[in-house]
Structure formats: C-alpha cells, structure tokens
C-alpha cells in the first residue's frame, strides 16, 4: 500500500542505481561468505605454520568432502523449512550395508562395487523417503521424525554390522579413493564438487527447484496455486537421504571401513555449514553454493586453528562463536537489504 512511491523512484533514477542495488542484492549473500572464506584462509596462511602448503590443502579437501555432501542434502531439507537430524546415522547404515556387499565372496569384484554404491544410495533414498513421508502424511515436525530415524538407522547399522567395523574392501575401490589429481585434488573431493554442481543446477534451473524455494517461502500459496506441496517436500527429504547415502560412499572411499559408529554428530556439522552458508532456518532462502562455502569455512577454521596450536578443547568454542556470529551478521544483511529496497 505504502509502496506506490517506492517503485517509481528507481525507475526514474535510471537503470544504473537499480543495477548496482541488484548487484549488491544478488552478490552479497554468496559473495560475502566467499570473501569471509578468503579472508580467513589468508589469515591462516600467514598466522598458522604449514597452513599454506599443498599437503595441508590436500588434507582440507579430503576432510571437507563428507560434510559437504551431507550439507548439500541438508540444504534441501532446510530450504523447505524442515531439518534432517538422521544424516549421520543414515551415513553409518550406508557404510555398513555398502561394505557388507563389497566384501561378499559370491559376487565378482566389479559387480560388488557397483552394487555396494547403489546400495548406499538406496539406503539413503529409503531413509529419506520415510522421513519425508511420515513428516508430510501425519504433519509431524521433521525434527521429531528424523530424531527417530537417527536412532533407528544407528540401531540398524549396529544390527547389520553386528556392532563391528567391516574391513577388507576390494583393492580397486580403495585405490580409487586414494587417487589424487594434479597432486592436490583427491577423487572424493571431485565427487563432492560434482554433487554440489548437480544440486546447484537442480535448485536453480529445474521446476522442482523452483517449487522448493516457493514452498519454503509460502507453502499455502503454493497449495492454493494448485500444487501438492507434500510431493515436493517428500522429494526434498529423499534427496537429503540420498546425500547421506552418498556421504556413506565417500566415507568408504576415504576410510575403507564400514562402521556402525561412523558419522556420529555429523548432522550438526552439516546444519552448521548450511547456516553459515546463509540459508535461513525458516526456509525459502539460501543456496548450495553458500552451503559449500559454509562447509569450507568450518573446515578451514578447524584446520587453521589446529595448526596454530589451539587445542581440541578450545576449537569448538571458537567454531561455535563463528556459527552464531555468521547468523547475527546475516540478520544485519537482511535488514540492510530491506532498508535499501525501501528507499
């Protein structure tokens, strides 16, 4: 109502002003996080011994992978104003199922490897679908449903593995996980980048991606526009589960064991990466690129602080502060944008 004058202004002032503002608007979120990442990295390059070495970056790339894959899935769940607490446990279940299949003696090695990878993904898809279905069918908050799934999947992984780690994965699989391209990029990081890229493409260019953002912003409007939001929401949870399953594959490639205690607490790291990446818990705003940058910030901080000699006890405190700080900064950014647009 009070906006009549508001729209006329930028139009009169000419395009330059509105383009600048648009640039600000579009770039602030991801670019801001990117700049933060660069600054933090630069600081550590000078302040932390051994930080600016190929070996260290290689290590970061390896360590970043699992959390990034989980966080990409988590982005889907959070964009629709949900959450998935079960990703760590689902990852564990995927690793034990995948490892079990891979060490099976009856199957040829190649087939076993392929089946195992598919099984990991299948475990994730099934768990994610169940999460989504229960959440939507009975309109229960996903926090509760996935809390249940966290326990169920964890328990299931203990049952499947008989509560023991599963060793002896086939050599080609182990070798594949150890390949390093150009001396700095491990295969698992490359896989991670592919996952990020696909997710980014889905959210940005597909109809499904459009609906995810629309539902996160205003589910009722989407429903009244003649859609069934539940379908898309269940798909989002399923994708989140699938990413947890892929996280299991990355885990197997990296650590070469299926473990029922894999991924304990990983869901919280994934959520932290999503939040630092600028996705809002209320849904509808955020991106996978942001999430990726968020995961990078977390890992760079962790490694950098470690190299500076900050002990295991203090690091979580600093990282915790960073998470909260990131969100506080985001509220200022949101306020600034709102005012900028109101001028």
């Amino acid at each position: 109502m009070q906006t009549q004058e508001r729209i006329e202004k930028p139009a009169n002032k000419g395009k330059a002003a509105s383009i600048t503002r648009r640039f600000f608007y579009l770039s602030l979120r991801e670019a801001g996080i990117g700049i933060a990442l660069v600054i933090i990295t630069l600081i550590f390059c000078f302040a932390a011994p051994y930080f600016a070495t190929t070996d260290n970056f290689l290590k970061i790339f390896v360590q970043i992978s699992i959390n990034t894959v989980l966080a990409v899935g988590m982005t889907f769940a959070i964009l629709i104003a949900g959450i998935d607490l079960s990703v760590g446990a689902v990852l564990a279940l995927a690793t034990v199922v995948g490892a079990k299949i891979m060490i099976s003696k009856e199957l040829p090695v190649e087939l076993a490897m392929i089946l195992a990878i598919l099984a990991c993904m299948g475990v994730g898809i099934v768990c994610g679908f169940i999460n989504g279905f229960i959440t939507e069918r009975w309109k229960i908050h996903s926090f509760i449903v996935t809390l249940g799934m966290l326990n169920i999947a964890r328990g299931a992984s203990q049952v499947v593995s008989d509560n023991a780690t599963i060793n002896g994965l086939p050599q080609p699989f182990v070798d594949f996980g150890n390949v390093i391209i150009w001396g700095i990029i491990p295969t698992i990081f490359l896989l991670t980048i592919v996952v990020v890229g696909i997710a980014w493409f889905i959210l940005k260019y597909t109809v499904f991606g459009r609906y995810i953002y629309a539902i996160g912003n205003n589910e009722e409007a989407v429903r009244l526009s003649g859609h069934n939001p539940a379908v898309y929401k269940i798909m989002a949870y399923t994708i989140c589960g699938l990413c947890a399953g892929l996280g299991g594959v990355v885990w197997l490639l990296r650590l070469n064991v299926g473990s029922p205690i894999a991924g304990v607490g990983y869901e919280l790291n994934a959520i932290a990466a999503v939040i630092i990446g600028g996705t809002t818990m209320s849904g509808g705003r955020g991106s996978v690129i942001g999430t990726f940058l968020g995961a990078c910030i977390l890992q760079v901080l962790n490694t950098g602080l470690q190299l500076m000699g900050v002990g295991d006890n203090f690091r979580p405190i600093i990282i915790g502060l960073v998470i909260v700080l990131a969100v506080i900064l985001d509220t200022y950014r949101a306020k600034y944008l709102l005012n900028a647009r109101r001028v």
């Binding site: 009070q2 009549q4 859609h227």
Partner: protein, 515 residues
C-alpha cells in the same frame, strides 16, 4: 474547553483521524462516552469500528486529534498502556493460552506472587470469584483447551473483569454464544453497570442493543453519522444511518456484457461448522456478487468450493458436468481459481519476483524437460504486466515492494497465465486505494467480457452493487436469497444480511458445529 474536566464523560474522542496510505480508516470522529453508560457502536464492515478499538487499546496511534480519558490526555502506544489506564478490551478473536489453566489465564497480567513464586492459593481463589461473576461453574484449574468456544468467550470476559477496569470494550462478544449464554452475559453487563463500569459494546446483532444499550453511535466509512439515545431510535432508522444515502454510481457497469450459459454450479455444499446447505451457480460472462457480514460464511463457502478447506457434502458442476474437487489442485485442473482475501499470506509469495509468482500456477507452459525456460517465462510475465498495467520497473521486482493494487493484479495475472475460466475473488479490493480499485473493477469486467465466470465476495456493498449482475446474500451461514441487478437495493441487501441475526430464539449455528 477542557480546563474543567467533564465529570460526565469518561472518554472523549476529539476530531480523531486515522489515515493509512491511500485509506482513511477513521475520519474526524468526535465521540463522548459518558461515565457508567453502555454505549453501542454499530456500522457496516469497514465502517471503522475495529480501527476505533485499536486506537483505544494502543495498537494504532491517531494521525490527528486527541483522546481524553477521565479528563486527561490519553495516548496509548501499547496494549499495556490501555491496561494500566483501566481500559480492558475483549476481542472478537480469543486470546487465551490453551495449555494453561483457567485461573492462570484469568489473572495472567497480574499473577499473585509470594516470595517471587506464583501464589496458587490466592490465584485460584481470585479466579473462582471471577468465574462466579460470569456465572461459569468450572474449576479454576481446568485447562483452557478443554473448554468450548462459548466458555472461552466468558473466560475472556472474566479476565477483563478480574482487573479493575473503568472502561470495558466488548467487540462482538455474542458472535459465538448461544441465547442462554447471551442472556447471562447481559446480566453481567447490567451488574457491571451498577458497579459503575462504563462499557462500549460493538455488535452486528441490532436487536441485542435494546436490551443493554443506553446510547448508540453509528459509524459509516470511518465517519460518525450520529449518536442517539437507544430509546429514541428504531432498527430501520439505524440501518438507514449505516447505509447512508451517498451511493457512488461511478462503477463502470457494462451492460453489453450479457451472461450466457451457466459455467459453474454448486449444489448442497456444506462445510464444517455450518448446518446449512448452499447452492448457487454462476454464468459465463457474469459477475456474481456475494454479500453478507464478516463471518456469515462467504469465505468458508468459497474455500470449501475451491477445495482449500474440507467440505462435508456438495456437488459441483462445470458446464453441466459433475466434477470432483478435493483439493485446490483439482479446482485448478478444472480452470477454477481462488483469489484469497489474504493476498500476502495465501495468494502470493511476496519474497519472490513478479515473474515467479505469475507462472506459479502453470509452470509447465514455460518448461522443457523439467527445466524452467527463464527467458520465455519472463517474456510471458512481461506481457501480462503490460496488459494489466502493473506498475513496476521490471518483472524481477520482489512482490513485497508493490502496492496492494499491483499485488492484486499480479494474482490476477497468475490466473490469466493459466487461462482460468472461473474466478472466485474474495475481497478483491480490500486494502487497495480508490484509484487502483477502479482498475481492478475494469479488469474484472474485462474478464467477464472474455466470457469467464466471476464470483466476487465483498463487504463493500456499493462496490458489489456497482459491478455485479446478480448478488446472493449470506446471513449466519445461510444463503438467504438472491437479487437481480434491477432489484438491487442497499437497504434490502443489508436487511437480508442481518436477517438471521435478528431472529431471536434460534439456536446459534456456530456454537454447535455440525459434526
């Protein structure tokens, strides 16, 4: 003139105006409330009754004028200010905390304390007294969620009474009460009056006001029409004052658009909470108006028809063929759309750009293999923005930044993009300034000229009479009749809208849900 505080008037409203961008909600109202009287406020929907209450409780601040309470300037900024001054308001909507006990709710603002802890003994004793006062025989420890609507309403009143209030404002208190409870409420009001409490009573139920009121003030279009002693005025006179004589006829009724065959027919529609079955139809190229008071079941009927809410019974025919509508998806599939009364929360995704909103109902048109063709999408949106005259620098503008009128046009553009045949418009011009209103009317006419069927729900009677071929009237959940354009008469429509409310002794449909 205020140097010697008037002993008679507890509240003086002097030349108060409340402006919103494009709308004047309250227009230079002078109103005196005498100490110890029951002052009734009546007026049509949007006449300014609620705005006046919001000014008194501090939710709005006047743009002009001043308010004196007990002779002293009174300018509340928060509901607490009103509370402290001794003004209590019982709203139409319930504001109770369902998971707390009755006692805690009643005394929530002033929980009795002992050593920093809640003193439950005193709490329950005081609550019991308050409950006795309103004649409710329930334990103070009952949880509010276990109560019925009518009981909750009485709890609200008990809550207002428990604190020493000098001025009590009751906004439509009987809307959810049964006749027995209403007479109990009236007893309470009489008792309060004897205690010297002043009461402002807002009601749609005109017959009630004779039982309790001393004086009545009629509001219309934000202005005060007159204040009269209840004894000196009849119901027809009040209705006449509410309607006024200044009817605008500038609505662009296009007589060349003649309705054709029936496009949509609703038979025996019933929704939860209403005992009546509703049947009506709309023709091609027709604008069908739906009149009635707020809460008469117009919105509920339309939402049930559209599948937005559950319906208990009813058949729907499109071009003579029965169709099934269980959810909005089905309605949209049959090219029926609903423009909700709450645009911002239900019709639009305000945080997203215009073009995304426009294509939301039919993204398929601009997709290829699951991918959105953004250029084609923007082009289509730009075309509609131009056709409908939506004022915006670009289709990438966030909808939040548009004015109300332009937002409504975006909603219409969304459904035009989908080639919708039946438009159900719930309050299409609410909150839209006058100029933009006429653009919306023109658009509605344009749609009618394209042989679409339109159902327009509106609380603005002159508007309905200006643009509709036919008007159906709802009263208290019942479709009470229909009028052809030649029969349009504001007083007659209003009388029909009040019809079921004036009948006394009839069981309140709302208090006894159908299932």
């Amino acid at each position: 003139m205020t140097t010697s505080p008037d002993k008679v008037n507890i509240l003086e409203i002097k030349g108060v105006t409340k402006r919103f961008p494009g709308v004047v909600a309250i227009d230079k109202v002078d109103l005196n409330i005498e100490r110890g009287e029951v002052h009734v406020l009546v007026g049509q929907n949007g006449a300014g009754k609620s705005s006046l209450v919001k000014l008194l409780c501090g939710m709005y601040q006047p743009s002009e004028g001043e308010i004196l309470f007990e002779g002293k300037p009174y300018s509340p900024h928060r509901p607490e200010d009103a509370f402290k001054a001794g003004i209590r308001i019982v709203y139409q909507e319930l504001n109770l905390l369902s998971y707390l006990s009755v006692a805690e709710n009643i005394l929530f603002e002033k929980l009795p304390r002992k050593n920093g802890l809640v003193d439950y003994k005193t709490l329950n004793r005081k609550a019991r007294e308050a409950l006795e006062e309103v004649g409710l025989d329930i334990s103070p420890q009952t949880l509010v969620e276990e109560l019925g609507i009518a009981q909750m309403q009485l709890i609200e009143i008990a809550k207002a009474l428990s604190n020493e209030s000098k001025l009590l404002i009751l906004d439509e208190p009987t809307a959810t009460l049964t006749p027995r409870e209403i007479s109990r409420l009236f007893n309470i009001i009489h008792r309060l009056k004897q205690r010297g409490v002043t009461i402002i009573y807002i009601s749609h139920h005109l017959h009630e006001i004779y039982e309790i009121g001393d004086r009545v003030t009629v509001l219309r279009n934000g202005q005060k029409v007159e204040t009269r002693s209840i004894q000196a005025v009849t119901i027809p006179e009040i209705v006449k004052m509410m309607v006024g004589r200044d009817m605008k006829e500038e609505y662009l009724f296009r007589s060349e658009v003649v309705p054709g065959a029936e496009i949509l027919r609703v038979e025996g529609l019933r929704y939860r909470g209403n005992l009546h079955s509703i049947s009506f139809g709309v023709k091609q190229g027709e604008i069908l108006g739906v009149a009635g008071l707020v809460g008469a079941g117009r919105t509920e009927t339309m939402r049930a028809l559209y599948g937005a809410d559950h319906k208990l019974a009813g058949e729907i025919f499109l071009n003579g063929k029965p169709i099934k509508i269980k959810r909005p998806k089905d309605a949209v599939k049959h090219n029926i759309c609903l423009l909700t009364e709450d645009r911002k929360n239900q019709g639009l995704i305000v945080e997203m750009p215009i073009y995304i909103n426009i294509t939301l109902a039919d993204l398929k048109q601009v997709t290829k293999m699951g991918l959105v063709k953004r250029q084609a999408e923007k082009k289509a949106a730009e075309r509609l923005v131009k056709d409908l005259g939506i004022k915006t620098p670009s289709v990438e503008q966030t909808v939040r930044n548009l004015s109300g009128g332009n937002q409504q046009k975006v909603v219409i553009a969304k459904w035009l993009f989908r080639n919708t045949e039946v438009f159900i418009c719930d309050e299409p011009t609410r909150g839209i300034d006058v100029g933009a209103k006429f653009e919306i009317y023109n658009l509605l006419w344009e749609l009618a000229a394209q042989r679409k069927g339109l159902i327009v729900v509106s609380s603005d009677l002159p508007e309905l009479m200006g643009i509709c071929h036919r008007i159906i009237v709802f009263s208290k959940g019942k479709l009470v009749g229909q009028l052809e354009r030649s029969e349009f008469d504001q007083e007659r429509i209003l009388a029909m809208a009040y019809q079921e409310y004036i009948k006394t002794g009839i069981e309140n449909t709302k208090a006894q849900p159908a299932s």
